[in-house]
C-alpha cells in the first residue's frame, strides 16, 4: 500500500486527482492540502510514502512544490515527492534533482488525466527511483539534434538515452523495447562512451548525468 498526501490549491485539479487515485487499489490518498503550511504540517504528522504536489501554491504561487521537496530531503528523507507542473521546462526538473534524483519525479500537470503515467510516477518514487515527464525529455532530445555527441548515437541509442533521462530502469527499458537486459546494458555502455559521460551503475545518478548533458550544462 502506498500512502499519498496531496498538495494542490485548485479545487478542480484536486477533484480530478482524487478520482484517479481512488480508482487505484493499492494507493491510499490520506490527505489533501491547499497551501504550503498545511501541506508541511500534514506531512510531518502523517509521514506518507509519497507527497504528490503542485509546483505552485499559496503563499507565493511560484515553486513551493520544489522547495518543499528540498526541505523533505533533509527533514524526512524517506518520503518521496512527485511534483506536478505546468512548466515544460527542464530547468525545474534539474532544480528538483539538485540534492539527488532518488525518490523524486517531475510530471506535467496534464498527466492527471492519464491514470497510467500518474500511477507509474507514484510507484517509481515509492520504490526510490526517479522520473522525468517523457514530453520534456523528448523536447530536450529534439532540441539537441545537431549536437556532435548526439549525432554519434544510433537511433536506437537515442531512444534509450531518452528513456534513461526519463528515469527508466534497465529492466523497464528492456521490457518497453522488447530486448534483453543484457542488450540494454550494452547500449547504455555505448551511449556513455560516445557522450564521454562517466559510467554509473546507479540509476538515479545516471538520470541526472543524462539530463545535465541534454540541457547542455556540461558544455
Amino acid at each position: 500500500m502506498i500512502r499519498v498526501v496531496l498538495g494542490e490549491d485548485s479545487f478542480l485539479a484536486r477533484e480530478g486527482i482524487t478520482r484517479v487515485l481512488d480508482s487505484i487499489d493499492d494507493i491510499d490518498l490520506v490527505a489533501a492540502c491547499g497551501d504550503l503550511d498545511e501541506l508541511r504540517s500534514t506531512v510531518d504528522e502523517v509521514k506518507p510514502d509519497v507527497v504528490l504536489t503542485d509546483i505552485r501554491m499559496p503563499p507565493t504561487n511560484t515553486d513551493e512544490g520544489i522547495r518543499f521537496a528540498g526541505e523533505l530531503r533533509h527533514s524526512l528523507p524517506e518520503v518521496g515527492v512527485v511534483v506536478l507542473s505546468q512548466h515544460a521546462e527542464p530547468g525545474y526538473a534539474m532544480s528538483l534533482f539538485e540534492d539527488g534524483s532518488s525518490q523524486r519525479a517531475y510530471l506535467l500537470k496534464e498527466r492527471i488525466k492519464d491514470k497510467d503515467e500518474l500511477e507509474r510516477a507514484l510507484r517509481e518514487v515509492a520504490d526510490g527511483r526517479s522520473l522525468v515527464d517523457p514530453r520534456i525529455v523528448d523536447k530536450l532530445v529534439s532540441a539537441r539534434l545537431g549536437d556532435p555527441g548526439i549525432e554519434k548515437l544510433t537511433p536506437r541509442e537515442r531512444e534509450i538515452l531518452a528513456l534513461i533521462a526519463e528515469g527508466r530502469s534497465n529492466a523497464s527499458i528492456a521490457e518497453l523495447l522488447e530486448i534483453t537486459k543484457r542488450a540494454v546494458e550494452r547500449h547504455i555502455n555505448g551511449i556513455f562512451l560516445k557522450l564521454e559521460l562517466p559510467e554509473d551503475g546507479d540509476v538515479n545518478r545516471r538520470v541526472k548525468a543524462t539530463l545535465v548533458y541534454l540541457t547542455g550544462d556540461g558544455a
Binding site: H87, G91, S95
Partner: protein, 509 residues
C-alpha cells in the same frame, strides 16, 4: 525653440562628395575666395591702424565654415582669398607668402580636426561638440600664429623681443574670429524653422534690441561693466537656441571691437596690445559661454524628445502585446475548444448509434485537447516566463534556446541570480534579438553570451545570417533599444551586409 536639425546622412553625403562638375567646383572656389577676401577687408575695418595683428581675424572662420559645410576640396579658395587680401605694400613678399601658408594650413587643420572630433550631427548640438569646436580652432590658430609670426620675424618686420606678444595676439585674434564666424555659419546654414507666432517675433525683436542696446552701452561706458551683456546673451541662448546665441554673440563682438578701435569703452586702455588682449579674451569668453549654454539647451530638448517618443512607443508596445494575446487566444485555444465541444457533441450522438466509432472520436478529441493545453502553456510562457522568476536568467535563456527554430548556442551564462529587474530586461533583450534573427537573418546559428561582472549584465546575441539590419521605427530592434535604455543601459548594433548581426547590450545589474 530654434533647434538646428541636421539630417545626418544627407548632410554628410553632401559634405564628402567631391565636386563632380568642374564649373560648379570653380564657382565654389571663387565664392570662397570672395567671401574670404570680404572677411579680411571687414577685419581690416575693425582694426587699430598700424602694424598690429587683427583683434578678430574673421576670414579664418569663413574658411573653416565653408570647408566644413562644403567639403575640404574647396581649399584653394582660401589660398586665393588670402593672397588677394595680403597687403604687399607693408610686408616683404616672403613674409606675406609665409603668412598665407600658415593661414591655409590653419583652416585645413581646424576643419579636419573638427570633422574627426564630431562624427555625428551638428557640433553645436552638444556641449561636447562646442568643446570640439574650441579645441579645433585653438589648434589651427596655434599653427597659423607660429608660422605667421616666424615669417614676420624672418622678413625683418618684427624683432625677436616682440615675438611672444605677436604670437599671442595672432593666436587669440584668429581663435576669436573663428569662434564668431564658424558657429554663426553652422547655426544659420540649416533651413529656418517655420511657423513663428506673433509673440515669438515680438520676443525676437525685443531680444535683438536688448542685445544691440546693451552691447553698445557696455562697450562705450567708461566704467568697466562689459558683463551686463550676459543676461541678454543667456536669454538668447535659452529661448532662441543656437541661432539666437550665435547672432547675439556676433552683435556683441561687433560693437565691442568697433568701440575699442575707436578708442572708447572699458577695453580701451593706454597700451594698444593690452586693449587688444582684453577685447579678445572678452569675446572668446562670451562666445564659449553662450554657445555652451545653447548646446546644453539643445541637448536637453533632444533628450526630452527622445524620451517622449520612447514613452509613446512603450505604451503602444504594451497595447500591441495585449492585442496579440487576444488574437492568440481567440484563434488558438478558443477555436480548438469550440471544435472540441462540437466533437464531443457528435460523439454523444454516435455513442448511441455505433459505440465502437464513439471511442475513436473521443480519442481524437483527447488529442485535440492536448494541443489546446500545449498552446495555452506556450501562451502563458510568452506572456511572462515563470522560469525567469523561479529559477533565474540562466535557466530562462536555456528555455528560450529550446524554443528557437534556429539552433542557439549558449556560450556563457551568469552563474548566480541577479537583480530581478535586470534579469527581466536581459531576458526580453535576448528573446527579442532571437525573434528578430528568426524572422530576418536566415542564420544557421545564434550565439548568446550573458555575463555579469562589476555591477553590469552584458549580453551579446550574434548570428551568422545576412546582416544589414537597421533600426527603423517600430522595429523589434528599436523596442530592444527602448528596453535597454529605459533600464539605464546601452545597446549597440553591428550588422554589416553579409556579415551577420550582433546585438550588444549592457545594463546595470
Amino acid at each position: 525653440m530654434s533647434e538646428v536639425v541636421y539630417r545626418e546622412s544627407a548632410d554628410r553625403a553632401w559634405a564628402q562628395r567631391l565636386p563632380h562638375a568642374p564649373a560648379r567646383y570653380a564657382a565654389g572656389v571663387l565664392a570662397l575666395a570672395g567671401l574670404y577676401y570680404a572677411g579680411a577687408k571687414t577685419g581690416y575695418l575693425l582694426e587699430f591702424s598700424g602694424p598690429v595683428a587683427a583683434i578678430v581675424w574673421l576670414p579664418v572662420g569663413v574658411g573653416i565654415a565653408f570647408l566644413y559645410l562644403g567639403g575640404i576640396a574647396y581649399w584653394p579658395g582660401v589660398l586665393i582669398g588670402d593672397l588677394l587680401a595680403n597687403n604687399y605694400m607693408v610686408l616683404p613678399l616672403g613674409s606675406a607668402l609665409g603668412q598665407t601658408c600658415g593661414n591655409v594650413l590653419e583652416v585645413l587643420i581646424s576643419t579636419m580636426l573638427l570633422r574627426r572630433l564630431v562624427r555625428h550631427g551638428s557640433p553645436l548640438g552638444s556641449v561636447r561638440g562646442v568643446g570640439a569646436i574650441a579645441v579645433s580652432i585653438a589648434a589651427g590658430a596655434a599653427v597659423s600664429a607660429t608660422v605667421g609670426a616666424t615669417s614676420l620675424l624672418s622678413g625683418g618686420v618684427i624683432d625677436f623681443g616682440a615675438l611672444p606678444t605677436v604670437w599671442r595676439t595672432w593666436w587669440l585674434g584668429d581663435a576669436s574670429g573663428a569662434l564668431l564666424v564658424v558657429p554663426l555659419a553652422l547655426a544659420w546654414y540649416a533651413p529656418l524653422p517655420k511657423g513663428w507666432t506673433r509673440a515669438r517675433w515680438l520676443e525676437a525683436g525685443a531680444l535683438l534690441l536688448g542685445v544691440v542696446g546693451l552691447a553698445d552701452f557696455a562697450s562705450r561706458s567708461t566704467t568697466p561693466i562689459a558683463y551686463v551683456v550676459f543676461p541678454v546673451l543667456i536669454w538668447a541662448a535659452l529661448r532662441f537656441g543656437q541661432r539666437g546665441a550665435t547672432l547675439a554673440v556676433a552683435v556683441t563682438a561687433i560693437f565691442t571691437v568697433w568701440n575699442v578701435t575707436h578708442y572708447v569703452g572699458p577695453f580701451h586702455v593706454n597700451s594698444i596690445t593690452r586693449s587688444v588682449l582684453t577685447t579678445q579674451l572678452f569675446i572668446a569668453v562670451a562666445a564659449l559661454t553662450t554657445l555652451s549654454l545653447a548646446a546644453a539647451v539643445t541637448e536637453r530638448e533632444r533628450f526630452a524628445m527622445r524620451l517622449g517618443a520612447s514613452r509613446l512607443r512603450l505604451i503602444s508596445a504594451s497595447d500591441n502585446a495585449r492585442r496579440r494575446i487576444e488574437h492568440d487566444l481567440h484563434d488558438g485555444a478558443q477555436l480548438r475548444l469550440t471544435w472540441l465541444a462540437q466533437r464531443l457533441h457528435d460523439s454523444a450522438g454516435t455513442a448511441h448509434r455505433e459505440p465502437d466509432r464513439a471511442s475513436e472520436l473521443l480519442k481524437e478529441a483527447e488529442g485535440e485537447l492536448q494541443l489546446a493545453i500545449d498552446e495555452l502553456r506556450e501562451l502563458a510562457h510568452g506572456i511572462h516566463p515563470a522560469v525567469l522568476v523561479d529559477l533565474g536568467l540562466a535557466e530562462a535563456l536555456k528555455s528560450l534556446a529550446l524554443r528557437s527554430s534556429i539552433p542557439v548556442k549558449l556560450v556563457e551564462l551568469p552563474s548566480s541570480r541577479l537583480d530581478s529587474g535586470a534579469e527581466t530586461v536581459g531576458y526580453y533583450v535576448v528573446a527579442e534579438a532571437i525573434a528578430n534573427a528568426q524572422k530576418y537573418s536566415g542564420a544557421s546559428l545564434i550565439q548568446v553570451r550573458a555575463a555579469a561582472a562589476r555591477g553590469m549584465l552584458r549580453l551579446e546575441i550574434a548570428d551568422d545570417g545576412v546582416g544589414g539590419a537597421v533600426e527603423h521605427s517600430g522595429s523589434g530592434l528599436e523596442g530592444l533599444r527602448d528596453r535597454a535604455e529605459a533600464s539605464g543601459g546601452i545597446m549597440e548594433l553591428v550588422s554589416p551586409p553579409g556579415g551577420g548581426t550582433r546585438v550588444e547590450v549592457a545594463i546595470p545589474a
